[in-house]
Structure formats: C-alpha cells, structure tokens
C-alpha cells in the first residue's frame, strides 16, 4: 500500500515531472557531451596541427654541442648508441612507445663548408659544372640498403705511418654512393675521387691530398622510409644552380663509421655528430606528452666517453611548439566556451529548481493534507526526494547515454560528475522545497517578510561577482595558463550574469513607474493594472530574467567574440601576407605584373625585390641589412589595410642631390647620416625617414626600403622582383582573383590570399568548435528562456486566475484579461534584453583580458571589435525569438490559468 500511495502521489502531477525529466535529460546530455567533445576537438586540433608537421620536423633531433666528436677509435660509437637507447628507455610512459630507433649521423666536413668538391678520374658528366660530396657515416646503414654493385666500404686503415708499415702511403677512403648519386655524378665502382681541400698532415709537417675510392653503389631497401628524410641528399643528389657558373651536383658518400676516428686525427676534416630519433604522432594526452618531451629536450645527452670533454647533444623537436600552440589554442577555445557555457549551466539548475517548485506548488493541497494527517516532514520530504531521484537519475542516465552514443571517444568517469549532479538535483530541490501547510492564513499577514534576507543575499551576489571580476582581471592572462579547470574563471561569468539579473530585477520598477505614470492617464485597464502589478508584485521572476538575460548576453557576446577574433585573424594574416594577395617565387617580369594589374578585381600591385645580406655602410660602420626595392608610389595603397605596414614618404622615386632616398628601420638608427650600399657598384643613399616595421615585406630588424625603378636606373641592372603584392578592389572575390592571377603567372610560385589564409585559420578544429559552441549555447539558452517563461507563467497562474476571475465578474473584456498575461512578461523581457545586451557587450573585454587568444588572433589580447550592423541583426533575431517565445508561452499559460472563482477559496 505504501508503494502504491507513493506512486500515486508521484504521478499525480505528471506535467511538472515531465518538465523536470526533460530538463534533466537535456542537461545531462550536454554535461556529458561537453567534455567528450572538448577532448575530441583537442585530439582533432593536435591531429590537424601534427598533420602540418613533417616526420623530420617531428623527430627528436640533435647536433652535438662541444666536446670531441664521437668516433670509433675507442669503442665510443657503441657507447654512444647505448646512451641514445637509454634516452629512449628513460622517456616518459606516453613518449616511449612513440619513439623509434635512435640513429647517429657522423658528418665529416671541412670547418668552412658542409660538402667537399671532388675531382676524379672521370670527367664531369655533361651539364655539370662541379661535383661535391657530403662525407658521412651512419652506424647501421647496412640494414637500410642493398648493394647493387661492389662492396660495402671497409674501415680506412689510415696513412701508412699510423700503422706498423712505414712509408708515406695515403690509401683512399672507401665510400659507397647511392645508385642515383653515382649516376648523376658520373662515377662508377672503383673510381678514385680526389677530395679537394681535404689535407693530411704528414709527419714532416707538409700536407698531402686525400682521396676516396668508390667501393660500391647501393639502393635503399625502402626509399620512402622516413629514415632517408633525415639525411640531406642521401639517395638523390642535390643539384644547385648558379646563374653565372652552371649546375653543381651534391651527393652523399657513406664511409665506414670506423674510418671517422682516423679521419679526425689525421686530416683537416672535422667530424660532427647528429642524432635523430623518429617520433610518431600521438594524441592521447597532449599536455602530459608535452611535459615528457620538455623533460627530454631540456637536458644535454652525453654520448660515449666523456673523458676529453665528451660529446653532448641537445635534442629538439618541432612537436614541442606544435603541442604548445595546440594546447594554447585549445585552452583558449575551452576557456572562451566555458565562459559562455557557465551561464546556461547555472540557468539549467535554476530551471530545475523552478520546475521542482512548480511540482510542489501544483500538489500543494495534497501535500498539505498529507502533512496535516500526520505525515512527518521527514516522510514527506523523503517521498518527494525519492520521487525526484526516480525522475532525475534515469533521465540523467538516458541523457548521458545518448550523449555518449553520439559523441566519439570513451567517456571518462569524471565526465559523469555534472550529469550525476543534474540527476540528483531534482531530488534535492524537491526534498528541500518549502512544504505547504493547510493552515488558512491571510497572505499579507503572519509570515515575516523575507525581504530583509533577500537584500542581504542580493548584495552578497553583487559583491562576490565584483570581487571575482577584480580577481580575474588582476590575475590577467594567467587565468588560462594553468592546466586545471579554474573555478573562478569559469564561475565569474555566471556570477556576473546573476548579479546583472539581480540588479535588473531591482531596477526594473524604476522605468516601470514611468510607464505606469503614462498608463494611469489612459483609459486602458490592462495597461494600468499590468504596469501596477509589475511594480508592486515583487519577485518578478529572477529565473526568467536570468535565463533571458543570459540568452541575450550570449548572442551579443558570441557575435562580438567572433567579430573580434575574425578581425584579429584578418589583421595578423594580412600583416604576414602583406596585402590581399601575395605572390612569391619566380621572377616577376614587368609585363606579368602589368597583366595582373589589369585584372578587373585588382586595385593596385606593388613589386618587391628583396636583397638579403646587402652591405650597408654609414660612415665607418658597415652592416648587413635586407634591402627592399619596391614600388614606393603604390606600396602605401596596396598595404592600406595592413597593420604595421611601412610608411613611406612621397617622392622616393626621384634622386635627392644625386642620392637615392631611403627609409630605414628604426633599429638602423634614427637621424642617420648619408650611407651607401654595395650592389655591384656603390649606390649612395639619403635616409629620409625611419619606420618601426615593414609588415609583410621582411622579418628582422635591419632593413632599408628604396624605390625599385630608381634603383634600376642608378645601378643600371635589370633587378627583377620575386615578390608582388596585390590589393583587391573592395568586394572582390579573392578566390576568383587568386585563380586569375595564377593563370597569368602560369601556376609558378606561391599565391597566398589573405582571405584563404584566414578561412584556413577559422577552419582549425578549435576555431570551428568555438563557433559551434557559440551556436549550441545560444540555442540552449533560447530554449531555457522559453522554459523559464512558461514555468513562471504557470507558477503565477493561480494568482492570475483569481485576479482575472474577479476582473471578469467586474466586466473586464476577455481581451484585456489576456493582455494582463503579456504585461507579466513583456516588461521583464524588455529589461532582460537591455541588461543582456549591455552584459554581452562588456563580457568580451573580460575575455580578451583574461584568456590567451594568441593562437586565434595573433596576439594574446586583441582589441574588442563591435560590428554594429551584425549585432543589430543578431539582436533583431533575439527579439524575434523572444517575441515568438512570449506568444507561445502566453498561449500555454492562458490554457493553464483557467480557474473558476469560488467564494471563500482561501488559496
């Protein structure tokens, strides 16, 4: 019987229970999905960024610092390999499975160059001006190659006086080459190649030449193995073109590792040790992986015998920067989203409380009767709490399960905390509800007013919110650099929203009094009565106010945040691109540039010739600077939108006293005197201005800008620019323009359009997740507003029903009675809209001040940009949604507030 009664009691008000179940299920689903999606986005972000990293960049690589090279004289080589294996073995648990076999590369070079010019028995093959060899040895190379002809190189015995035999014999160093290298260099097995510039010191003090003999040629067992990417021109020779001299081929010659020690001690060649450890991509726990990587890369690894200073390497990998930037970007996105989501999460619990209150109020009579019939508060609260759990827990489980099914990746146990909280909340709220009493009483008498306490709580909320904002601002960007979730940073927007809602509720009567004063003079009952009720019936729903305010503020905040980020991205990409379109690569002839300038979408073009390492002399000081020769007349127009573009004075294309006017970087010195540059001939320059930066043209601090045509005229050289900046007309389709330009240049070189870079950027998983998160939270908070309005109207239904019943008996029209419902919500919604807009406009300032947005917007705190047209549109949308909501909620409330007036009804 007890169970039957409990079930009957619980199911007596199904409407409220359904509302609770729906809110819990949605809340649990979102709470469960959020961290999983967040992790998925993070993994995507890592994958996306790792995808932009090559195997060679990702691998742990290191070049020896100090000490003697590792050589094979005393077995150091084996020790060095053991030391490297130890590095792998001692790596952290996440890093270790990702690491491949460590490799040692011993290069044997002259101190001044990394390749040796060779001359041999055979003449240079046709079309080749010169041949060079990179002399190197790799222990374990034989596992990766197959000999096609000849034999693997034997250890070099060294000059004859090193061994037991006397004489002055210098045997050639045996080497092997790849098939492709041998072919391109025109050598065959058995050829002896004289290594120019390599010298042996003879015991008498003179020098002797050194040569190498090709003992064999090989091919790779797997040419696509990343093993070969770690060695320069290991399989294929590099052909370098010198416009004056012709082509040079540079190949790699592999000697026996045991030859290296003797080469070191007997010749002027200097062995150098490089190390690489392949590193596979992994996205399990990027933050922990980063820590382990930093642990490995932050120390020097001693290799082999350390007696003579020893060889040490510092390992490094591009993955550290990739992970760092991915983590920063993900944290930034997560922090911004947490700021946005905190509001709806709070509103969700407020809604649950409201729905629970409704559930209790709708069963007020029966609960009061049960209590009067001897139901102890514990019994009744227990029954309500049990009912709440029975409704809440399955709904939460269902919501979380659906979320888990729909989201990728496994759910962590910690993800279920918030859904569990949502599931337990109805039980807590129901059990904690104020129990109704059968005692008849006048509502205006008896119970002491709660106004005093409410004031205290409200002042506390506002004070805590102000304190939280102050703390957050004073901590600055550190807020998002910690690895754990920062409760203060997350709770602050909710507190601020709550404080704003409290203030709005308190200030709400002020404008309403003015409205009431106007309405009082009119012959309009609904307006008069509605405004009077709005002012005098206190407690005009804090929850719907909060829900509407949060929804509005999220709409405004998201829009502003997106505008701000887009502006930041646009600014930083344009600063790096230099203009709308940037062409780099082949020499751009004047006709090509003219053809580009003639395109309908193109507003202006500017050619840029970059002459790096130009010797600039001022007085007695000579410095190497980057000389930029540009179309000075139009560069300003082309770079009109570019932040940090160099500002050029006019008339740079005419000589000043026979000297070329030049704008120099600030680092070159303000107020510098006359100077000149060496460009074949000496060109005299006259500094006319200094500029802090030349965005898009040059990196680095030492540069000078002159006019291209003037420089051509003065030097008499046909200086052909390899870069062209193009500005597009406003409204031009940058993609089409890019295609048209590509057609003109024949697809040679790279064409970067700012728009493409920008959209690439906004397509990164974090950026996409952020935008989607904005949309989801906006939709959610709109839904919450609808629910809050409906719940509030339903809660107020009995009082309104009595009022309307009285009014109808007094002869009020049905239309006026209906309009009273609108008066309950329209002023509230209008206030929430205004307050929410103000909050939404202010919140981005908090975000840019406390969240590191550098990976999104180029710098940590980009300026907040308001796009008023877009904001207007969004606000119009919000108003439309709220208006529709109000209509729907009012219709629902009207259906629920039909009551019959009964004389003597006390409740």
């Amino acid at each position: 019987m007890r169970a039957r009664l409990l079930v009957r009691q619980a199911t007596s008000s199904p409407g409220a229970s359904v509302a609770i179940a729906v809110v819990v299920a949605i809340a649990a689903a979102l709470f469960a999905a959020w961290p999983q999606l967040s992790r998925a986005v993070f993994a995507d972000e890592i994958g996306y960024r790792s995808g932009e990293t090559s195997d060679t960049a990702r691998a742990l690589t290191g070049r020896q610092v100090g000490g003697w090279p590792v050589h094979a004289l005393d077995g150091s080589l084996a020790e060095a390999r053991d030391d490297l294996d130890a590095v792998v073995d001692s790596a952290g648990p996440l890093l270790r499975p990702l690491l491949g076999r460590p490799e040692l590369l011993l290069s044997v070079d002259l101190a001044s160059a990394d390749a040796l010019t060779v001359t041999g028995d055979t003449v240079d093959p046709p079309g080749l001006t010169g041949r060079e060899l990179r002399f190197r040895a790799i222990p374990g190379l034989e596992e990766h190659v197959r000999l096609v002809e000849g034999a693997a190189p034997e250890p070099w015995p060294g000059p004859s006086w090193f061994g037991t035999g006397g004489g002055r014999e210098v045997p050639p160093v045996p080497v092997m080459l790849s098939v492709a290298t041998a072919e391109r260099l025109g050598v065959v097995v058995g050829d002896v190649l004289v290594l120019e510039d390599a010298r042996l010191v003879s015991p008498e003090g003179g020098t002797l030449p050194l040569s190498a003999v090709v003992s064999g040629v090989f091919e790779a067992t797997d040419p696509s193995d990343s093993y070969w990417q770690h060695q320069l021109s290991g399989l294929e020779p590099l052909v370098r073109t010198d416009p004056q001299a012709g082509d040079f081929a540079i190949g790699a010659a592999y000697t026996n590792p045991e030859s290296v020690g003797l080469l070191q001690v007997s010749t002027n060649l200097r062995p150098r040790t490089d190390v690489w450890i392949p590193l596979a991509a992994g996205d399990d726990d990027p933050a922990a992986l980063l820590d382990e990587l930093i642990e490995v890369t932050s120390r020097q690894v001693p290799l082999g015998d350390q007696e003579f200073g020893g060889v040490r390497v510092e390992l490094e990998t591009a993955l550290v920067d990739v992970l760092r930037s991915a983590i920063t970007s993900q944290r930034g996105a997560a922090a911004v989203l947490a700021l946005v989501a905190a509001g709806p999460v709070g509103v969700m619990f407020a809604l649950l409380a409201l729905a629970c209150r409704l559930s209790v109020v709708r069963r007020r009579d029966t609960l009061a009767l049960a209590s009067a019939r001897g139901g102890a508060p514990v019994q009744i609260r227990g029954a309500l709490g049990l009912e709440g759990l029975v409704i809440g827990l399955p709904s939460a489980a269902l919501g979380a399960a659906v979320a888990s099914l729909l989201t990728p990746g496994p759910a962590a146990l910690g993800d279920l905390l918030l859904p569990l909280l949502a599931g337990v909340a109805p039980g807590v709220f129901l059990a904690g509800a104020a129990l109704p009493s059968l005692r008849t009483q006048r509502h205006d008498l008896g119970a002491p007013s709660r106004g005093g306490w409410r004031w205290v709580v409200e002042v506390l909320v506002v004070a805590v919110a102000a304190g939280a904002v102050y703390l957050l601002l004073s901590r600055g960007l550190q807020a998002t650099t910690s690895t754990t979730v920062d409760p203060l940073a997350t709770a602050t927007p909710l507190l601020v929203s709550l404080a704003a809602a409290v203030l709005a509720t308190r200030l709400f009567p002020v404008p309403m009094r003015a409205v009431h004063a106007v309405m009082r003079r009119r012959r309009d009952l609904a307006g008069f009565l509605g405004s009077a009720r709005a002012i005098r019936e206190t407690g005009a729903g804090l929850v719907p106010m909060l829900a509407l305010l949060v929804a509005t503020s999220i709409a405004v905040f998201s829009t502003t945040m997106l505008t701000t980020l887009q502006a930041g991205v646009a600014e930083s990409t344009r600063a790096s691109t230099g203009a709308d379109v940037r062409l780099v690569g082949p020499p751009y002839e004047d006709e090509t540039v003219a053809a580009i300038a003639a395109l309908p979408d193109v507003a202006a073009t500017a050619r840029v010739l970059t002459l790096p390492a130009t010797r600039l002399t001022e007085g007695t000081t000579t410095r190497q600077v980057t000389l930029l020769a540009v179309d000075t007349a139009v560069l300003g127009d082309v770079q009109a939108d570019v932040d940090g573009a160099v500002e050029l004075p006019g008339a740079m294309d005419t000589l000043v006293d026979g000297r070329v006017p030049v704008v120099v970087s600030e680092a070159l010195g303000v107020g510098a005197g006359p100077m000149n540059v060496q460009l074949g001939s000496v060109v005299d320059l006259e500094p006319v201005a200094t500029a802090p930066s030349a965005a898009g043209l040059v990196d680095g601090a030492l540069w000078a800008v002159v006019d291209l045509d003037l420089l051509r005229e003065v030097t008499g050289q046909n200086l052909v620019p390899r870069m062209t900046l193009v500005a597009l007309r406003p409204g031009a389709d940058s993609e089409a323009a890019g295609d048209a330009i590509a057609e003109i240049v024949g697809g040679v070189g790279t064409i970067a359009t700012t728009a493409a870079v920008q959209s690439d950027f906004l397509a990164s998983p974090s950026a996409v997740a952020m935008q989607r998160g904005f949309v989801v939270t906006l939709a959610l908070s709109t839904l919450q507003s609808v629910l809050a309005l409906v719940l509030t109207l339903v809660l107020a239904a009995p009082a309104r029903g009595r009022l309307i019943a009285v009014l109808r008996t007094l002869g009020t029209s049905a239309r006026d009675a209906r309009r009273l419902v609108s008066w309950e919500v329209v002023p509230l919604a209008a206030t929430a809209l205004v307050a929410g807009t103000v909050l939404g406009l202010a919140l981005p300032h908090l975000v840019v001040a406390t969240v590191d947005l550098s990976t999104f917007a180029g710098r940590a705190s980009p300026p907040v940009v308001y796009d008023w047209a877009r904001l207007g549109l969004v606000l119009a949308g919000v108003v439309a949604v709220v208006a529709t909501t109000l209509l729907a909620a009012t219709a629902v409330a009207r259906r629920l507030s039909l009551t019959v007036l009964r004389i003597g009804d006390a409740t």
């Binding site: 009664l5 009691q9 001897g374 102890a376 005692r439 006048r442």
Partner: protein, 317 residues
Amino acid sequence: MSTPTTPTTARERVAGGEIVCEDLVRIYAAEGIEVQALQGLNLHVEAGDLVAIVGASGSGKSTLLTILSGLDTPTAGRASVAGVDLLTLRGARRVAYQRSTVGFVWQQTSRNLLPYLTALENVALPMTLAGRLKGRELTERAEGLLEMLGVEHCRDKRPAAMSGGEQQRVAIAVAVANSPQVLLADEPTGELDEATSAEVLEMMRAVNAETGVTVLIVTHDPTVSEHVRRTVQIRDGRTSTEVLRRRETDEHGAERHVAEEFAVLDRVGRLQLPEEFVSALDLRHRVRLTLEDDHAGVWRDTRQDPPPARPDEEEQA
C-alpha cells in the same frame, strides 16, 4: 496521548479526549497590523462528548479549529487536547499528535480527500503515514471503516466519482482511521444539501456513539445544533452562549427534545449577554446589576449617560 493498543477493527472503542481551552488568544501580526482572532476563549469539552461550535464569519471558530488540529499555535492562554499541551507542540510531538490524537474533516472535499486516490487508498493514507498497520491488516481496517460509514461501495472510486455525501463520509472514515481521541470537523456540511447534511451529521453522531471519540463540529449552520447535545456559540473570539439539548420522555412515553440556552461564564466571572437581550433592552455602555437569592438581575441604566470611552458589553455579575 496515543492509543494504548492497536485497534484493528473499525468499531473498537477509544478513550475520548478532553478538550480544554482557557483564555486562549491568537494574534496574527504583520508590520503595523494586529488581528486578534481569539480574545481569551474558554471552552471545555468532556471526553466522548459531541459538541458543535457555531458563530458568524470571522468569529474565530476556524482559528480555534486550526489550533486544535495542531496546524497553528496559540499566542497565549492554555489549550490542551487529550492532555497534549498545544502551546508547546512542536516537531515530532506535533506529528504524533496529528497522527493519533486528532482527526479532522474539512468543509471542502478537496481538502479532505486526495483526488487521485480511491476511497480505500484515502483511508489507508493516514494509517500508512503512521506506519502502525501493514498489508492485509491495514486494508481490512480501511474496509471496515468504509463499511461502518456505509460507503463500502465507494471502495475503488475516486472522489470525483462520489456524491458530496459519500465524499464526506469517506472523509470521516479518513479522519478516524488512526483511532483518534478527538474528531474535529470544520463545516462538514457546508457544501451539502439539507438532507445529506443531516445524514452526515447523524453519521458523526454514530461514530461518536460507537467509538467514543470526542467530536467537535465547527459550523455557521444553526441547524447543526439540532443534532448535537451541546452547542457553543462564539462571538468576537470568545465563547458567548451555550445550548444544551436533551431528550426527555414524558409520562406518556412521548419523546421530546428540550433545548436550554445558557450564557458562558468564565473563570473570573465574565459573561456575554446575547445580542437579542442587548438590543431588546437597548442596553448601552453600562447596566445596573442586582443580586437576589437565586438569581442576578440586569437593568438598563436609565440615566442615559453620554457614552464613556470604552464601549463594552461585559458586565460583572
């Protein structure tokens, strides 16, 4: 205060509870306003008695009943039901009091019965809350109570499917389910027609007679007093007059109802003159009293003084 044994049959007799109220005061206070609903009410109801309290709207009778049912606490005075002091009633003792010492029937059926429970379940509810009976025993007792009140046919009906009289009978069954010592009824016939009212009142009399429970009926319906032995009238928060009825059988065997009206005299000797006495003699401000051997006389003050500051109808005997 609780019944010593667990009654399992509906008709088991209980020791009725005595109701004692002395100088009972209840003041509702809010900022700036005080409403004195009870102004020193005195009432004594013998155990097992059947008493009606009548009074106009706002006379304080509902306040009295709310206090007696343990829902409200008096501001001052003394009130006890079946030995339970109502002024200090709190927490667990209040729950125990409501479970086993009092039962009540309200005017509105919606307040007596839960609309979504059948008659049987409604009767079972207070017993389940008290937790003394379980399973078969509980169902049997509930069925017995319905049978005693003649509504066993409503066993599986919900209140909406019953007539007003049936609803109130089920309500009485609910009220006595936990064998209370006192049954309180607030306008139990307020929403019923005359015939059904009489039926319900007779049913309460029957319950009173069969179980020995003290019954206190609050009503503004003067016809109720015809069904009870003693009727107390409340005026302005005080008991004013009482009507006692008895059946007399004369020498011819004919039974007749005799009703005698008395004014209530409190501990310190105050009494209220009935309204009709006051208006008939045009008594105002003060009266003259004379003490005779076997009665006291009240005379109008013929001097017709101008009214003094304190209008008061009280007289010292």
